[in-house]
């Protein structure tokens, strides 16, 4: 039994989400969606857990603060110079530095995190990807074996798919 790819496109995320929910209920789990916008509906329908990016950002932020403390306090004691009678460890200024570094590293971690987790940069195209999915169409690519093809297609159709293409071992176009 060869697996095939069924590529369907939808006009809006509501229909798309409905289709996904049905697929999931039918436990035809092996599918992939494309959309021009980050749709909460689709996300909810797929129902994955929250993205781990936030932990990266948190880590970045914390390391930022620590770096801040390290360089401010550390370098101050390097020479221990008196400037205007202000204490060597002058908290108010150091807080500013720590804050900036927190944001800086947090942001960088976050950005790199997204790239890493969402697998960009990449050169290969996911099976079934179609240019319109970047524009005004929402797409679902279901990978199943021929036996289930019918069911899947009907499922997609009734949830409002505009067109459905079946491909043997879909190749990227």
């Amino acid at each position: 039994m060869s697996t095939i790819a069924i590529i369907s496109s939808f006009a809006d995320d509501t229909r798309c989400a409905r289709a996904i929910e049905q697929l999931r209920e039918a436990e035809l789990g092996d599918f992939n969606t494309f959309s021009p916008i980050p749709s909460h509906k689709i996300e909810y329908a797929i129902g994955r857990s929250k993205s781990p990016v936030r932990w990266l950002v948190l880590a970045g932020g914390i390391s930022g603060v620590l770096t801040g403390l390290a360089i401010t306090i550390g370098t101050t004691y390097e020479w221990g110079l008196n400037a205007g009678g202000k204490p060597l460890v002058s908290w108010p200024p150091f807080i500013v530095i720590c804050f900036e570094l927190m944001v800086l590293l947090g942001g960088i971690f976050g950005f790199l995190g997204v790239l890493m987790l969402s697998g960009v940069p990449t050169t290969e195209t996911a099976p079934g990807y179609d240019g319109r999915f970047g524009g005004d169409r929402f797409g679902i690519v279901v990978r199943c074996d021929e036996a289930q093809a019918e069911r899947v297609e009907s499922m997609l159709k009734e949830s409002g798919a505009e067109e459905i293409v079946r491909e043997d071992e879909a190749q990227p176009r």
Binding site: A83, G84, G85, K86
Partner: protein
């Protein structure tokens, strides 16, 4: 002008070689032997270690002793010679600036001859000598007195040489001319005491001082010495049970710096001072406020002063009667009083002398000593005679050395045309001046600091001037030129081989006076001491009380007259070639790089002019143009113009700056009736000063002596913070914590400190435009504020005080520096690391005292001025902030010495440049951690007067100022 060999470069290489060679094999290198100051044994030259030579100052007749600081064979700084009784270790701005005369880039590098076309041709010395010799020979053959020498008093020895030189050519036409001279005083002395020498003064012995137009803190006689005396005179002291300060009154047309330091300024028209003086005498005599044994025939005296009844005088001069009577009273009742005169008419001098005499102050506040030095300047008659001779073509060769008659002699003398008539004029000197422009042969002469010379400023003092370094240019000592010429082309046999020999001979002759020590030891000791200082002996005065020529009251004054006074820094004009002096703001007007016509607002209204409008001032002798400065620091109807500017030659720094006031004066006069008209032209008078109004801020503070006596401290009405407010933990300064105490009452505003700072710290000058663009670099400046009119009665006449980095413990400039270029040292200094500075300039923005200076461009020291740079101090590059660091290099030097000698640093061992220069010792420096240090004791002893500038900012300055003292006006 054709290029001679590039001297500045050569000499630079030479000097560089000195250091190098000396470093390599001290003394053994022949080149080095040739190059190091030959008064020092070679092994004394250690690179990085300064050597000091005592010599004398030749910038004015006061003849202060000087110590020259030599590094690697070049003199880098001049300081007062502590051994010298006149300067006593201090030196005025002019004296210190002599260096820039020595290193002046415009100095004549080679002999030059004027061709037929008037163009100059550079020649070698032998050609020049030959030409000179031939001309002299020819002249002497032509007859007697056909050679003339025109110079300025340059000490007994040179005088001897000059006379001998003339003698060799059968002439006696020697003129020694000082534009700013004491002739009127001598005349007065002659009249009453039958002697022409000058008395010495002891202001500090007096209780009351009246100056009739004598700017004794600026240019009159011996400013450094008198300033020091004056500061003692003004120091609060118990007199007859009351804590008081000496009372000083200034009578004259202009509120000079001197006048501003007095209690009262009695504004009179120029020439009216005498009138007032006689009137005061009149009061004294009438009131019998005279000492019984003064030896005067009071009857005769009162007859003599009959014309000077206060009322009459008041009518003539506009000085209120009660002012005159009060003057008389204070002077007469004083226990020790002194009247001095600085006017151009001997009448005022005479009156002053009589005032001192009748009150029995001779021998107390003013005294004649035995053995006053011979008169150095020629009398006006001699000068006139010589000039006439020239005009009649009676002179073939005129040898001018050290004088600039074309510039400094008053218009009426018609010098230019006289010199015109002389076929061959030889000029020997440094920077070619107006007179050089008329000469056919120009000879580069040694700067005094390069040559042997001596001075005899007054009885009991002989200063020895020894050369402090190798000549910078291809020059010769004037004495040597004269001797060489005489040897070459005259039959006479002169006793000396060289000027040096002459000086030594002269001094060895003095050896017996010094207790018959071995001549050579004596020679060594005087070279070390810088001169011979002996006990002075009062000379018995033979008072000629025979009714002297009773003075005639001067005619009614012209309703507009011009009053010319020697510029405190440029003096008679010789200072104009020195950028330091040009850029030093005149203390009262704060103007730089220009000359100005100071007039009263009233006068300005009459003339219909405002500040910066150029007016033409015309007298019977000539006319000059100068921009107007409208201030009430001058009497209505008087135009006050400083002398010294208006050079048409004399180097890049002096040429075409301002106007020459000598050109409108009569011989020996400092004022003249004048007319003035607006020319419609405008020239900005440039000054680094922003506002003259202190706006009630705590910058320069003053309190009245009465308050001090009562023990009340002037309170600021600002609200007080109660409870703790210190937000940072205190910093510890375990070792030293350097601090300063500055007595504003002692500060006269003479700016010697400023010049000292320029010299010590390689502070660049920026020129007129630079100052105009707000880019003056001075690290220390004299703050000048006018008291607001409504408080004038409760304030000094001017607020004058030095402002420099306050080295704050909570310095606002430090934490804002992103790179620690500005930081605080363990010894409490506000350090500035030039190499680290990136030039954000935040420090200056945040400095409340605005004492930081930014290098907007790369600083310029046209060679060989760069040779003066102090090797101990970095030369800052463009884009770097710089500032005062209490002369940290001197602190380091002293600390290093202490460490090598394994001992504690001694109090007073470190002198900052400004402190060292100050004639009145207004600045004391020391360790604030050491309560015993002189600096701290001074604070302690003057607690009531102590304040810190802008204290409410909690910057915690290391400098404590002591309030200026004034007398509450309208009080007896």
């Amino acid at each position: 002008m054709r290029e001679g060999p590039s001297i500045s470069r050569r000499s630079f290489i030479k000097l560089a070689a000195t250091a190098g060679a000396a470093a390599a094999i001290p003394g053994c290198e022949p080149a080095a032997r040739k190059l190091i100051p030959y008064v020092v044994p070679d092994e004394n030259v250690v690179p990085g270690v300064p050597s000091f030579f005592a010599t004398t100052c030749s910038e004015c007749p006061a003849g202060c002793g000087v110590v020259a600081r030599i590094r690697e064979g070049r003199v880098v700084k001049l300081e007062g010679n502590p051994a010298d009784p006149i300067g006593q270790g201090s030196l005025c701005a002019r004296g210190q600036a002599a260096l820039q005369g020595l290193y002046n880039p415009d100095r004549l590098a080679h002999p030059q001859v004027r061709g037929g076309d008037g163009a100059m041709r550079t020649v070698w010395w032998d050609e020049a000598d030959k030409m000179l010799g031939d001309r002299l020979g020819a002249a002497s053959k032509a007859g007697r007195d056909r050679v003339a020498f025109f110079g300025s008093p340059q000490g007994p020895t040179l005088r001897k040489i000059a006379l001998a030189f003339l003698g060799a050519y059968g002439s006696s036409r020697a003129i020694f001319y000082e534009a700013v001279n004491q002739e009127p005083a001598r005349v007065a002395a002659k009249t009453i005491f039958g002697r022409r020498d000058l008395p010495s003064y002891r202001i500090d012995q007096a209780e009351v001082l009246i100056s009739f137009g004598a700017d004794f803190l600026e240019t009159w006689q011996s400013p450094v010495e008198l300033a020091r005396q004056y500061s003692l005179f003004r120091t609060p002291r118990k007199r007859r049970g009351r804590l008081t300060i000496g009372r000083a009154i200034y009578v004259g047309p202009r509120l000079s710096m001197t006048a501003s330091k007095c209690d009262d300024w009695i504004a009179t028209a120029p020439g009216a001072e005498a009138d007032v003086a006689w009137s005061v005498l009149n009061v004294l005599v009438k009131q019998r406020w005279v000492s019984q044994n003064s030896g005067f025939d009071l009857a005769a005296l009162s007859k003599a002063v009959a014309n000077f009844d206060p009322a009459a005088t008041s009518a003539r001069t506009g000085v209120p009667v009660e002012t005159i009577t009060r003057l008389g009273e204070t002077f007469g009742k004083a226990d020790g009083a002194l009247a001095i005169a600085g006017t151009d008419d001997s009448s005022a001098h005479l009156a002053a002398m009589i005032l001192n005499a009748v009150t029995g102050n001779f021998g107390k506040t003013v005294m004649f000593f035995e053995g006053s030095p011979a008169e150095e300047t020629s009398t006006p008659d001699e000068v006139d005679a010589a000039l006439d001779a020239m005009r009649d073509g009676g002179i073939d060769v005129l040898f001018v050395a050290g004088a600039n008659p074309v510039f400094t002699m008053p218009a009426s003398a018609r010098v230019a045309e006289a010199i015109e008539k002389v076929p061959f004029v030889v000029w020997a000197g440094g920077v070619p001046d107006e007179t050089a422009a008329t000469a056919s042969l120009l000879l580069p002469a040694h700067h005094p600091l390069e040559s042997w010379r001596d001075t005899a400023p007054r009885a009991g003092i002989r200063g020895l001037g020894q050369p402090v370094m190798q000549p910078v240019f291809d020059s010769k000592a004037v004495g040597d030129i004269l001797l060489a010429a005489a040897a070459r082309s005259s039959s006479a046999k002169l006793p000396w081989a060289s000027a040096a020999a002459a000086v030594k001979a002269e001094w060895l002759a003095l050896a017996p006076k010094a207790g018959g020590a071995d001549p050579e030891d004596f020679w060594v000791s005087v070279r070390r001491e810088g001169g011979l200082y002996e006990e002075q002996h009062l000379s018995a005065l033979s008072l000629d009380t025979s009714p002297f020529k009773a003075p005639v009251p001067p005619a009614a004054q012209a309703e507009l007259s011009v009053y010319a006074y020697p510029h405190i820094f440029l003096y008679d004009g010789r200072g104009a070639d020195k950028p330091w002096l040009q850029e030093l703001p005149e203390p009262v007007t704060q103007i730089v790089w220009d000359s100005w016509a100071e007039i009263h607002p009233e006068t300005a209204r009459k003339l219909g002019v405002a500040k910066d409008d150029i007016i033409e001032i015309k007298t019977e002798h000539g006319a000059i143009e100068a921009p107007v400065l409208v201030e009430s620091t001058v009497r209505p109807g008087v135009i006050a113009v400083p002398l010294g500017q208006g050079h048409r030659a004399y180097g890049r720094f002096a040429k075409d700056v301002g106007a020459n006031a000598w050109a409108i004066l009569a011989a020996g006069a400092t004022s003249a009736a004048a007319t003035a008209r607006a020319t419609g032209k405008i020239r900005r008078l440039v000054s680094p000063l922003g506002k003259s109004d202190m706006m009630g801020r705590s910058i320069v503070e003053a309190m009245s002596i009465e308050q001090l006596a009562r023990g009340v401290v002037p309170q600021s009405e600002a609200e007080e913070v109660t409870g703790p407010f210190e937000i940072y933990p205190p910093w510890k300064y375990p070792g030293h914590k350097w601090g300063m105490t500055i007595d504003v009452n002692a500060c006269t505003g003479c700016s010697a400190c400023v010049t000292a700072c320029y010299a010590e710290n390689n502070v660049p000058t920026v020129g007129k435009d630079g100052v105009d663009n707000g880019r003056i670099m001075s690290w220390i400046r004299i703050e000048r504020y006018f008291p607001p009119a409504n408080e004038a009665a409760q304030a000094p006449q001017l607020y004058l005080a030095p402002m420099l980095c306050q080295q704050c413990s909570h310095a606002p400039c430090e934490p804002v520096c992103p790179v620690f270029a500005s930081y605080h040292t363990e010894e409490g200094l506000n350090g500035q690391v030039y190499n680290r500075c990136v030039g954000t300039r935040y420090c200056e923005n945040n400095c409340p005292y605005k004492v930081r200076r930014f290098n907007w461009f790369v600083p310029q020291w046209p060679a060989p001025l760069n040779l003066q740079l102090n090797p101990d101090v970095t030369v800052r590059s463009a884009g770097v902030m710089e500032k005062c660091t209490f002369c940290v290099q001197r602190i380091q030097f002293a600390e290093l010495n202490a460490r090598t000698e394994d001992r504690e640093l001694r109090d007073g061992e470190i002198l900052t440049a400004c402190q060292q220069a100050c004639p009145t010792r207004a600045i004391s420096f020391g360790d604030s951690n050491d309560p015993a240090s002189a600096m701290m004791r001074r604070r302690e002893d003057n607690k009531l007067r102590g304040y810190r500038v802008l204290e409410e900012l909690n910057t915690q300055p290391s400098i404590t100022y002591l309030r200026d003292l004034y007398r509450e006006k309208g009080k007896a």
